[in-house]
Structure formats: C-alpha cells, structure tokens
C-alpha cells in the first residue's frame, strides 16, 4: 500500500487553474522528485499536501486513511513535514541552535516551564541523535550556514515522527559540497523508511537521489520516469519543447581584454592569481561556498578591496571605492540572492518591473530629476520583449513574476545601458530550465562586453561560459598551462 496517494486533485486561484486532475503516489522509503517549470503547479501541490491550502477537488489518502490537513501544524502531527527553501525562519538569530531544535517543544508546551541550560541541551541532543546529525548546539543560529540550517529543519521534522518529508528546493542555496552532504542525509532517511518528496530545479540533485520523477506542466501530470531517469527526456517533457544544445559552442576568438587582474590576492595570505576576461567572452568561476567567488566579484565592484595586485579595465588602472564608481566605470554586478541584492519589496515604490530596471539608470534617464517622461516604462517594455519576460506591462510588480522571470528582469537592468563588464553572482538561483536557456542566450548575446560569472554549480558554469575556471582557497586554479588562453574542459 502506498504511503501517500493523491488522486484527481485540482485547485484554482480565481480563474487561474493551478492544478488540474493531478495525481501522485509516494511509497514508504521512496524518493520522488517533483519537476516542473515555475508555474507548473509544484508549489500548489506541495501547499495542498502540507496543509497550507485545501484542494478544490480530489482526494488524498495517507496510510490508506483520508488526509486533509487543516494547517502545516496539523500536517506535521500526521507525519507530513515540509522543509522550505528559505531556512532563515527555522530558528531565531540570537538564540542557540539548541533552541532552534526545540522551538516546537516550547510552543507545544512539551518543555517544562523553567528551562535550564542543561535540560535544553539534553533535549536538543536527543533530537539530534534521533536524526543522526552533528551540530554545534551552543552556537548562535545566525552563524549557521544554509546546509546546517536545513539540517536543523530536518532534525526537527524527524523528531516529529515524520513519515513523509517534503523538501522544497533544498539545494538552491547550498554549495556543491553542502549539497552532497544533503544527499547523504536524504539517502539516510530513505534507508530508515521515510518517504521524501523532493522539489528541485537541479538535475544533479535528481540524478543523485530520485527513484522516480513526476513531471508537471501547466498544472497537469505530463509524465513520469523511473530510475534510471533519462533527464534530457525529462527536461524536454517539463519545458514542453526539445532541449536546444545544452552546452553552447565554445567560442575562441574574442576582442580586446576588458578586465585584467595581475598578481591579485583576495586575502593577504591567499595565493596570487591572474585573470583576463575579453570583450565578448563569458568566463565562469566555480567553487564551493566560501572559496572566494563572491569576494572576487565584490572586489571588482568596489565592495571589497583586493589585498594585493593590480586591476586594469580596458588597459587602464581600475580601483573602485564603491559600487557607484564601479558602475560609472562600466562594471556592473547582479548580486546573488536577487531578493536581497536587487529587488525592492512588494507594495513599496519601485517594485515594478520598470522601476527595477531603471534604478541604476535614473540619472541618465531622468537628467532633470523629475520623473514625468515615462521612459522607464518604455525601457521596461523593451526588455520584456527582448528577454521574453512573462508580463503584460512593465508597470506590473516584479513580485507577480516567477523566479526565472524575476532574474530576467535583473539581467535586463544591466543590459538597459551599455556596460564594459557584467558580473553575475549565482545568476541561476531558483531559475527553472526554460528561463535559464533564455538567460544564457541573453548573457552570451553581447560581443561588446566581458562577462564574469560566479556559480557553485559547475554544470551551470559549462552551460553558460566559454571558459570555466575553478576557485579554491581564495585563488583561481590555473589548470590549463598558460592560464587564460587554455580551454578547460572537465567531465561532470
């Protein structure tokens, strides 16, 4: 008997059918991956299973009994626990990891009224042991990395006697190394007979874990693949069109050098390295979290200083003191985590697509200081057409868009005016395969600028870049002799 069976499930938001006659079954100890582009209905299905919303039609059973959770808490007590992509809300900065593990105990009055440090630690230790994890109990939750936070969330789920764990984009903010730790954890859960419903855009995740892949498109089941999964076929099913050559043709002829680093050190004690990025060239830097990718981009954008070395921009010395100077010199950056680094919150002036694009260009577009001309709207609509952003008008809120389309808007911001060098930090975070193709095409379309991309996903790096360089311990690893002229292909 299947652990969870959902049949004929439908749900609509207003007149938009988010899910139509959808079905899903999960066995105990099985890892089922749910795939679909943004808007395919994945999150609606997850919300139904986790008790956030109720389906309009259909029935769901858990262990053969009808299952219709009233709330996420209700779902959790029945053994269905969801771990969300954003793990910031798992614990509270200022409180310890132990407190984060026991949060639910506090709320549900399972803890005694008076807490001693020792009893908290003892209880927290029990929760961790149950999950088989090792975490520093006395550390401030705020100091934990994304992977550790995820472990806290999973440990908490397990202490709740979870039978089905729903992981929503768990690796979106993890480095490769952290992701492989998560893989081990998921395999451990599977061995214990816990079912996992795994939602991810990353085929690497699914290849490593999934027993079965269920694909949604436009709110309907469009296919299912069993192990061994043919991921090319799965992705084609998911996006509903043939996959254009996943890897671009590596080009070899580029223009003049735009960015040149000589003897650069990110930190005083790290090894020096050279780097040249030429006009029209797309270079990707990959490495684990903390290897120095973001640091490299930050120092080119005036947010950090190089400890040592020389930077040339178009052959002239370049040392920006802040982003203002970098942008004025033609070096622009789209930071990682677009919500934090690029977007204005919903409901606040500047949340529209047009305003998101215009923010750095206001002085040029509105030289008088008054914003009466509507130029940003025109530029926004141009961008919508050029990048295929799914929006009716540039005055729509950027928050009405899916992750992939939001990222297109961020890219459009830096394409609205010519630049010399485009720096992109993790540009494919939370971006589905379809949108990723569009973004890659947009990035590669410019022959007049240099592009430097930081990503922890080497597969992504090879999809977008002419040249992929690894970074480790804050220094570029010069595999091909001769550095920037070598082609570095590595098998993945």
């Amino acid at each position: 008997m299947s652990l969870l069976v959902a049949e004929h499930v439908s749900h609509a938001f207003g007149s938009t059918k988010a899910l139509t006659d959808s079905h899903l079954s999960v066995e105990a100890g099985e890892v089922v991956a749910l795939m679909g582009a943004n808007g395919a209905g994945k999150s609606t299905l997850v919300k139904i299973l986790s008790g956030v919303i109720r389906p309009d039609a259909g029935r769901v059973t858990l262990n053969g009994k009808p299952y219709a959770p009233e709330s996420p808490a209700d779902a959790a007590t029945r053994g269905v626990v969801t771990v969300h992509q954003s793990t910031d809300v798992v614990g509270i900065p200022g409180l310890t990891v132990a407190d984060a593990l026991l949060l639910q105990h506090y709320v549900e009055k399972r803890s005694p009224f008076f807490l001693s440090r020792a009893s908290v630690r003892r209880q927290a230790r029990r929760v961790l042991d149950e999950a088989g994890f090792h975490l520093p109990l006395d550390r401030d939750f705020a100091e934990l990395g994304a992977a550790d936070r995820q472990m806290v969330a999973i440990a908490r789920a397990l202490s709740n006697k979870a039978e089905l764990l729903i992981l929503d984009e768990p690796t979106a903010s993890l480095s490769m190394q952290e992701a492989s730790r998560l893989y081990d954890i998921v395999r451990g859960l599977k061995a214990r007979g816990i079912a996992v419903l795994y939602i991810s855009h990353r085929t690497a995740d699914l290849a490593a874990l999934a027993d079965r892949v269920v694909i949604l498109r436009g709110g309907r089941n469009v296919g299912a693949f069993s192990r061994p999964v043919d991921f090319d076929a799965a992705i084609e099913t998911m996006i509903g069109r043939p996959l254009s050559a996943a890897r671009p043709k590596k080009r070899e002829r580029f223009g003049r050098p735009v960015i040149e680093l000589r003897g650069a050190r990110l930190f005083p004690d790290s090894a020096p390295f050279d780097l040249v990025v030429r006009e029209g060239e797309v270079v990707a830097v990959t490495g684990v979290l903390g290897a120095g990718k973001s640091r490299l981009l930050s120092s080119l954008f005036g947010l950090k200083r190089l400890a040592d070395g020389e930077v040339l921009l178009d052959g002239k010395p370049y040392a920006p003191k802040n982003p203002e100077e970098a942008i004025a010199a033609g070096v622009v950056l789209a930071g990682e985590d677009r919500h934090r680094s690029s977007l204005i919150p919903a409901g606040w002036p500047g949340e529209t697509i047009a305003a998101t694009i215009s923010l750095p260009h206001l002085p040029r577009w509105y030289p008088s200081g008054f914003m009466f001309s509507g130029r940003e709207r025109r530029e926004g609509n141009l961008a919508i057409n050029r990048l295929g952003i799914k929006a009716l008008d540039a005055l729509a809120s950027v928050w009405s868009l899916s992750g992939g389309n939001q990222q297109k808007v961020v890219i459009a911001r830096w394409e609205a005016e010519p630049s010399r060098a485009l720096l992109l930090d993790e540009p494919f975070q939370g971006v589905d395969v379809g949108a990723r193709q569009d973004i890659i095409a947009a990035i590669r379309a410019h022959a007049d600028r240099a592009t430097l991309i930081a990503t922890s996903d080497s597969e992504e790096a090879h999809e977008v870049a002419d040249r992929v360089i690894e970074i480790d311990h804050h220094s570029l690893i010069d595999k091909a002799h001769g550095g920037e002229n070598g082609q570095q292909e590595e098998s993945i």
């Binding site: 209905g41 204005i344 002036p349 923010l359 200081g369 008054f370």
Partner: protein, 342 residues
C-alpha cells in the same frame, strides 16, 4: 519558489473585490466627507469658510512636521526628535529676537539652520555610527528638551526676560516675524496654511515624481539593493534627516510667530500628532506606506474631527483619546482590511 507564481495573471477581479478596493483606497476620504457633511448639518457654523481656515491653520504645523517624519519613514528610518526640534526652534527664535535682537530676516534662516544641524547630527549618529534610528533620535529628543532650557535657566522667553546674569533682555518680536503666524493671504488664507500647502506640494512632487524620491523609497525598501545599484545611500539618508529637521524647525517658527513668546512647554504634543498624521497617512489611498499626501490628509482629518467635536461641546480632555482612536482605526484599516488578498 514564489507563492504568487500560479495566480499572477489573468485573474478577473470579482465584484466584491472592486467594492472592497474602493473602500480600502477611499476610506479616509469617504470618512472625511461624512464628517464634514455631518458637522455642517448639526453645526452650520462649522462650514463657515473662516472656521475651515482655522482648522487648516490649526493643523498646518502638524502637517509640515509630519511630512518631514514621512520622508524619514520613506528611507526606512524614523525621526522621533521632530517634536523637540520644533520646541527648541520656538525657543531659539524667541531667543534670537528678544535676547540677541535679530530681525525676522536673520531669525528665520538661523532657526532653519538649527533644524538642519540637528538633522545632520541625527544622520551622523545613524549613518556613520550605525546607531539604530529610533534610539538615536530618541536620545536627540532628550538632549534638545534639556538644551532648550539652558540659555534662559529654564524660563520661558517673552519681552523683558530677565537673563541668568540678572540683566534684562532688550529685544522684542519683529512684527514681520509675527506675520508668519498671524497674517492671512487676501485676508482669508492664513500664511501658515499657505506654507503648509507649499510644503505639501513640494514634498509630494519630490517624493512621488522625482529621481530623488524614488531613491528615498528605494533606500527604505532595500538599502543593499539601492547601494548595489550605485546610489549613495548614506547621502540619501542624511538628506532625509536634514529635511526632517528643517521642516520641524519651520513648524517651530510658525508656532513661535503665532504664540509670540518662547514657551518652555510649547510643542509638547507635536511629536505625537505629527507621527500620528504620518501613520494615518498609510491608510490614505490604501497605500500602506508612508506618503506625503496621506500625511497631510491625516493631519486634516484629525483637525476636522477635533474642531467639529469641540463645536459639539466635547470636553477638551477627550482630544487625545480621539486622536488615539483615529490612529488605531487607521492602522487597523491599513493592515487589516486588505490582508485577505494573500
């Protein structure tokens, strides 16, 4: 990943939603109209043009200071020192004329510069030293409340003031200065109301229709993103606090010119009233954010309500309660009614 993905497009608003939306956006205006009609009906004297002008005059100071608070709210900060700045400005103006013997043309710039200086200090604390805005401006409020007492040894300032050293101050109020608070344009529109309208229009255009305004809100919405887009957020925040200080000082100038003396306790309620006006403004047009138009409407709303109730013989001591009730209602409207969407 985003919860709105599935219902982003193509949703046709239902009839009830339209009604709800109109109520949400227009609630303050509808209530204001009802108040005016109601008061005019029960008290015909209410609708007298002179009474309406006196309402506007009464709220002008709160509205001007409130627009300054609004700008600090827009950058994601908060200026709690505005009441103290206004009160100090009253004392400073009186001191400048009565003790230092300055005329109106010297006094007004000096007082406004004083407001700008306080704004700069606030900005220094908040932007440079990274003191949280509430704490920085709260301490500044304390400091100013004390500071204003020192030059006169705690006495109020009026003509013939006896100074701490025993001598008598020789200056007097410049009649030109008093005109700011007491004269009217065409014998109808008080100068203070004209100043309020000028401030309101200027700041409305500044915040809603200019590049700088966009950057002010952008800083308040996501400071990191604004900085990464190349804006100098430190300068933008400094501007907001300086503007807030200047507007508070302008409010103080109007109070001093109306009262004609430097009263130690003047401006006691200005902070609460102007903050309340800004917060009531969140509900205007259902914007749920600080906005200049809303602040001015908020101030007028409270003024109309208090004036009308006073005409209906509501005792003066109920005034604070009424203001509080309006604020609570406005915030409930702002945050409560429209939540159904999500």
């Amino acid at each position: 990943m985003s919860p709105v993905t599935e219902n982003a497009h193509g949703e046709t608003p239902r009839h009830t939603d339209v009604v709800k939306d109109v109520v949400r956006r227009g609630a303050v205006f509808i209530l204001l109209a009802l108040l005016v009609v109601g008061f005019s009906w029960t008290q015909p004297a209410f609708a007298n043009i002179n009474n309406l002008m006196s309402i506007l005059q009464a709220v002008s100071v709160v509205a001007i200071i409130g627009t300054g608070v609004t700008v600090t709210l827009a950058i994601g900060g908060f200026d709690l020192s505005v009441g103290a700045v206004a009160a100090s400005a009253v004392m400073a103006a009186s001191y400048a004329m009565i003790v230092l013997g300055l005329n109106a043309y010297q006094t007004v710039p000096v007082v406004l510069a004083f407001g700008a200086l306080v704004g700069l200090v606030n900005a220094f604390l908040i932007v440079r030293l990274q003191v949280p805005d509430l704490l920085a401006t709260l301490s500044m409020m304390f400091l100013l409340m004390g500071l204003q007492l020192i030059p006169t040894a705690g006495r109020s300032i009026s003509v013939g003031l006896i100074l701490p050293d025993g001598s008598t101050a020789s200056g007097s109020y410049d009649p030109m200065f008093l005109m700011i608070g007491r004269s009217s344009l065409f014998g109808l529109v008080p100068l203070a109301v004209v100043l309020m309208l000028l401030t309101a229009v200027t700041l409305y255009i500044l915040t809603e229709r200019t590049r700088l305004g966009r950057l002010l809100y952008a800083t308040g919405g996501n400071e990191l993103a604004t900085r990464l887009a190349g804006a100098n957020t430190a300068r933008i925040k400094t501007f907001a606090y300086v503007l807030s200080g200047v507007l508070a000082a302008l409010g103080g100038v109007i109070v001093a010119a109306r009262v004609g003396r430097g009263d130690v306790s003047s401006g006691a309620s200005l902070l609460m009233d102007s903050v309340a006006a800004s917060l009531i403004g969140f509900a205007v047009l259902g914007l749920r954010r600080p906005n200049v138009l809303g602040t001015v409407i908020g101030a007028v709303f409270v003024g109309v309500l208090l004036n009308g109730l006073t005409m209906l013989n509501a005792p003066y001591y109920t005034q604070d309660f009424i203001k509080g009730a309006v604020l609570v209602g406005a915030l409930a409207l702002t945050y409560g009614v429209s939540r159904a969407k999500s």
